[in-house]
Assembly symmetry: C2
Homo-oligomer: 251 residues x 2
Amino acid sequence: MAGDTLLVTAAVLVIGDEILSGRTQDQNSHYIAKYLAQIGVDTREVRVVPDVESEIVAAVNALRARYDYVFTTGGIGPTHDDITADAIAKAFGVAIEEDSRAISMLLEVIPPDRLNEARRRMARIPLGAELIENSVSKAPGFMIGNVIVMAGVPMIMQTMLDAAAPRLRTGARVLVETIEAGAMPEGRYAKDLAALAARFEDVAIGSYPQFSGGVVRNQIVLRSRDASRLAAAAEAVREMISRLTDNGAKV
Amino acid sequence: MAGDTLLVTAAVLVIGDEILSGRTQDQNSHYIAKYLAQIGVDTREVRVVPDVESEIVAAVNALRARYDYVFTTGGIGPTHDDITADAIAKAFGVAIEEDSRAISMLLEVIPPDRLNEARRRMARIPLGAELIENSVSKAPGFMIGNVIVMAGVPMIMQTMLDAAAPRLRTGARVLVETIEAGAMPEGRYAKDLAALAARFEDVAIGSYPQFSGGVVRNQIVLRSRDASRLAAAAEAVREMISRLTDNGAKV
């Protein structure tokens, strides 16, 4: 939708061997996608890459060229495997230096005699970046260009996202309507739903089965930025469900 | 590690608007990564893309060229938004046709008079693919080239992964050792740990903080295919923790 100023897009880039090895389940990308949806930013892609500089650089550059914003999580702590800040600097082709504002933030919680070399690493920030406050443990995230760099620990990431959100350009929120199809099988309504999806091209219509305890229940989810089109499509889907329920025995 | 036959790599491609919108939290990529680790396949990348054919085709082609296997989840049901099979056929440049073996599978649970057009869609399989059995609801997944195409419903995906696993080439399992650093801050051990990581280049060493109830606890995770190197590195990390604990007051 070129030229549509209501549409703001984003990608989430999760950085961390611990996710890819199956050790840790990523919670952040789901949290971010949900959060962004609420402020009118569409998440269009998620990637998880390992703690390997060339992989991070390639992913950041691919994603920042394609989406309005890129949100990264992970790899900004004090240990040797925390290489995100350096990789971001490399992706942008800028220098990375110890940032005196970041040092001041660290000194709010770390006594000066304990601010060792490793901890100072957390103040290394690519040149030209704005800091993002971390109200939990003070070591800041940062934003450079359209890339927002956040911690991997969920609680810290969440405070950083709160701190970054007011700086983002946001679009019109996507409105969502969920219609329960209950135990009616997808195969019974698929053809009619496809016809409705073709009729309401500006409403994204999805059908989602859930199996639980041997029982299937389906939901039809409609998404649009246009409230009246959404309402019309939802009405049409409800009519369809009710019609097919009456004819249930035949299909 | 070119030429290392012990190393088998994979990517997971999650297909679904419902994940990107924040409606549903993807559980499958974590399950697959954990499962593959146990059978000696390294997950190197995860991507989540929307239900858009061009996006699926681009991601499949990027990932299948790069990794030994690609596991996709989602988009193989009977509704109009289930476009994965067609996208995979397009990515491979092959035709897609109704597969008589797949029809037979569907007929095990669907009476012939209810096998309507929408349900028959679930039997559309790219030419040259092998079917992957679905013991839950019968509609099969498939494997074409190095791409394994599975359902999005976790319970069904899991049975398909079980069915696909025996056909995979697997490598040496990565062995893992987790060492509790407890409440010791990462910043206290980061420098020494970096030196150990440099000394044990063949052991991947990561440090992972967890905040819970205002308390930080750190874990150091070591991963290697070589049991004796792993044991030596773990011993060195334990010595480091114990040494720094004794000197705790000073650092």
